[in-house]
């Protein structure tokens, strides 16, 4: 169960992160993206660490 939850969250996160980074690199007129993308990646890393911490006994 823990692996399924973790897998789903990581899959959604990977798609969103890839898309955001793609826009960040490609959309040259929008420098506003930089700050948001950094906050997003920070939150994502924090969430993954917290999730792994909670589910580590089941993996």
């Amino acid at each position: 169960m823990a692996v399924i939850i973790l897998g789903m969250v990581l899959a959604i996160s990977a798609i969103c992160a890839a898309a955001l980074l793609y826009h960040w690199f490609s959309f040259s007129i929008s420098k506003e993206l930089t700050f948001g993308v950094l906050i997003y990646l920070f939150g994502l890393a924090l969430g993954i660490v917290a999730l792994l911490n909670q589910f580590s006994p089941f993996i």
Binding site: A2, I5, L6, I12, S26, I29, L33, L51
Partner: protein, 173 residues
Amino acid sequence: MIQLNPNEKIIYIARVHWLAIFLDALRAAILGGIPFLIALYITNFSNSYLSEDSLRYLWGSAIAFAMVIWNFFFVAWTDRVLDTWVITTERVIDIEQRGLFSRNIAVIRLDDIQDLVIDTRGFLATILKYGDINIQSSGTTREFDFKMVNDPEYVKNVIERAIVAVGGSRWHR
């Protein structure tokens, strides 16, 4: 991203007002916070005994839900940030981001603009300077509508000045 014609210059890039993004963030925070409140209540105040494994699942599920909301919020944020009107010396380019992988770009030449309508409704919209702006064209292109744009009065003035600069005689006052 946008191919400008020779001698064409970008005058202004209109974006959505920060309040729209703030409201999205508020909604996401409330939605993402609910499972944590439930988990906190069950952990601290519920009389029922839960094993350590169950508590780990409870908090893990709350974190997983918050992460999904976090991802969806940033998808919505990207949508908001990349929705722009690029006003150039020759045309207005409406870039409408739809989700992460879909984008609609419409162009209206300054000569074709028939009317510009701004709509600022309410106390907040007046003091925070946001509103809707609508361009009506003489052609059959799709309607140009920008909701909650930052400083619509200024955007309108920029477009009007650009039209006058390209020789839109009916716009002379």
